[in-house]
């Protein structure tokens, strides 16, 4: 990439790297995105401290997308997808990876341009690269959420998911939130021109993504596929479900949501272990969705109560 002449006038981690004639590191990209979205008025949050399958599930997105209060936030979220783990042997697939998540409620009318500007900040020049908005409607059945939008392609690679939230937990999102999810590893691989995720330059000072995460992928894969105890996972799932129910009965949507997330993650672990039949699968998804819907309903009620 030779975008060093085209970078933004703002001093960011990426612009500093380009000025030094270097490609931005993984953390440069994270820092730059946070810097950029902070300038757009976002609250820069830290990752949620619970296992989630996607950045969307952070309560800062799932719950805050509901209700009428304006909200702008951006954060990195580690996402765990036990089934996608590959013992560190696949150059593109990981059981644990990072998403950069932005939510703007209501979506500003120039959100597409804001998004394109964010790509520009990390060194993707739209006059040099073919950026396309390709239809991809987003749906997450486990939280009863869906929206319309696109996957954003840069030279044929999906670098982000761009969604206008229509419903969460079965409730209409009013106003509508715009949600952006950047696949950080992919984006970095693209910007750095590396073919293998573990070759990503993490910090610009000799530490690679593999140094940080390869061993974790290996061990977590062994756990996901070989050593997780299905009976225990099932029991924990039921306990988490029960705990969520108790909290919902006491109108405590925030801790209830934590336990809905737990049950979702436990289901993902069971699924990875290959012990869930197709019929059971549907029933697990329905159970998690019921919890998530309960949390959404309770949160909305709580919001409306607070507004009065």
């Amino acid at each position: 990439m030779s975008e060093s002449n085209n970078i933004s006038s703002h001093q960011t981690a990426c612009s500093r790297a380009y000025k030094l004639g270097k490609k931005p590191s993984f953390q440069d990209i994270i820092l730059t995105l946070s810097d950029y979205w902070a300038r757009q008025g976002c609250v820069i949050l830290q990752p949620y401290d619970s296992e989630v399958g996607a950045g969307t599930l952070h309560p800062a997105t799932t719950l805050r997308a509901l209700g009428d209060k304006p909200w702008k936030a951006a954060y990195v979220q580690p996402s765990r997808r036990p089934k996608d783990a590959r013992y560190g042997e696949n150059p593109n697939r990981l059981g644990h990876y990072y998403q950069y998540q932005v939510i703007l409620k209501p979506n500003p009318i120039n959100l597409q341009q804001l998004y394109l500007d964010s790509l520009y900040e990390i060194g993707i020049d739209p006059k040099l690269h073919d950026i396309r908005f390709v239809e991809d409607d987003w749906e997450n059945p486990t939280v009863g959420a869906w929206g319309l939008g696109w996957e954003v392609w840069c030279d044929g690679m999906e670098v982000s998911q761009y969604t206008y939230f229509q419903q969460v937990g079965g409730f209409d999102c009013k106003p509508v939130s715009g949600e952006l999810t950047y696949g950080l590893e992919r984006l970095t691989m693209y910007v750095q021109g590396v073919e293998n995720v573990y070759d990503i330059d993490f910090n610009g000072q000799g530490v690679t993504y593999g140094d940080v995460f390869l061993e974790n992928e290996k061990q977590q894969s062994a756990f996901n596929f070989e050593h997780s105890d299905a009976a225990m996972l099932k029991r924990w799932f039921e306990d988490a479900e029960k705990q969520c129910g108790i909290l919902l009965a006491n109108k405590l949507p925030l801790p209830a949501f934590d336990w809905a997330l737990k049950s979702s993650h436990l289901f993902n672990l069971l699924d990875a272990r290959g012990v869930v039949s197709p019929t059971e699968r549907q029933s697990f998804i329905a159970r998690v969705r019921d919890l998530a819907k309960g949390c959404a309903a309770s949160w909305l009620e709580n919001q409306q109560g607070a507004a009065k």
Partner: protein, 672 residues
Amino acid sequence: MSEFLLELFSEEIPARMQKRAMEDLARMLGEGFKKAGILSCDFESFVAPRRLGVCVTGLPIATPETREEKKGPKINAPQAAIDGFVRAAGIASIAEARVETDAKKGDFYVVDVVKAGAKTAEIIAELVPQIIRNFPWPKSMRWGEGSLRWVRPLHRILALFDGEIVPFEIEGITASNQTEGHRFHGNGVFAVANFADYKTKIAAANVIIDREVRKASILAQANEICANNGLELVDDIGLLEEVCGLVDKPFVILGQMDVAFLDLPPEVIRLTLRLNQKYFVANDKASGKLAPYFIVVSNLNATDGGKAIALGNARVLSARLNDARYFWDLDRKTPLESRVAKLDSLVFHEKLGSVGDKVKRIVELAGEIAPLVGADVVEAKRAALLCKADLSTEMVGEFPELQGIMGRYYALNDNEFPEVANAIAEHYKPVGPSDVVPTHPVSIAVALADKFDTLVGFFAIGEKPTGSGDPYALRRAALGIIRIVLENELRIPIKGFVNEELISFFLDRLKIYLRDQDFEHDIIDAAYAITDDDLVRIVNRIKALSAFIKTTEGENLLAGYKRAANILKAEEKKGWESADAVVNPSLFKENAEMSLFATLGEISSDLDVFLAKEDFAGALGALSSLRSPIYAFLDDVLVNDADASIRQNRLALLAQLRQMMAKIADFECIRG
């Protein structure tokens, strides 16, 4: 006449929805104008990723005043009826109505309802917001704080009538004369004066609004690039339709694929390129084989001539093909045979068991069919056993379209017989009307077994196709069997595999198939009167009959038959029964009777021989020698003789004629 230009400028419209939206917009405007009294105008609609528009020409400035005579109740009608009329006609009191006199009805009220004309611009200002609110997008959404729904956020509405902005507003979007061009090659927001001006300026802003022009440009560029590189573009109309909706202005770029990937099955490479990346593929002109290139339709005239785009796409493609290679390598480690057991946990249909159960049934059935189609029983059963095993492979999990095709590759890798491997790939065929049918006996046996099992199973659980739906594609399965049987001239009595209900389902499908091939339905019905479950024989009969009826001989014979049959029908209505009738030659009085009887006798055995040989043309030829005796009989003999026994005898002779002809077809069904 005046011009109306409308452009709805939004965020990127899904490619698959664009063409339909363009048609819907013109249709809805046309309907709206018609309702408003504008009956004739011309539409030129257009669509590009960020805009949907139409230019309507031939519009009047305003619609004329219309006058409609509204007839009311009689003057002596009850007050309630008169009050109702006053309300309906929109007048203040009945005094405003005229009284007309009718000779029959007497005096009654009449009101001339005058509808004022409207300015076309006003009609538009009312109509367009309605169309926007009711637009039939397959999926629509809200955005921001508004409640308006559109396919993606709507940003601008350009609405010009004769160069003037049509003043209207919808959810905070006010109609204007402004638009913008290409996202990256445009030059900001600009105003236009009319459609001609719009076209010039939008082209200058690097948007091709005509999707046909975009398609032509893609093809021209791709073909040129191919020609320059010794390649031949592989046509892909579906992909062309899609990618023309992803670009405002296409810039076609050739990318290079690592040749090492060419050891993957070409189907896998093509599908990866097409489905995942929306690339066109090309064959090497010299060898005709898939070439290690890909063709990207980009939306950007990049500052470096597209080098970065080609390189970036090549990297993405490598990652994709590496995934495919991973599946390919992994799948080949497990023999297909050992995957069969996994099918037991794959649900086929909740009432019809697992795919494993289906496979067990297909194996049995293929074993029964094999000898009938000249296939080796062991090979047919082997192919049937393995035919669904690739469903549990990673590759088919990723690309369901490759079912069967991957099974073939994996079977060859397992050193299965080529006939068995090919049957795995071919047993799904034909997948559509344009697809070829399998021709190798083993493939035929498995293809038939699979389809028979599907039909019998779904009919047994009552999941039959209805007028509106056929979710399990049973019509296609039946048509598949019909085509396999006919095109391979297979002599299979289908009764051995299906019940009566399904036989009639097959005959219905066959009728539609034959009508598509221009056979007349009366000829088909005539042949169907002969109970038969051998599709080839049924069709041969229809073909012979159809050809025969078109000849002069056939036409004459049919006319003679109809006359004879009419006499019989008239008698039968009166209670005469042909079943009891026996011809007694000693009662003949006329030569014509004798001669018809003699001819019937002469051809009787010939006819049976021809029919035994299934030589329907021969049989019909034999029948045609009846023509002159029939005519002679009908012209010279009065059936209705005063002597009842002679009359009975003549009727019996005609009944014998009818019976003999009915061995070939029911001529009664054929239109004269």
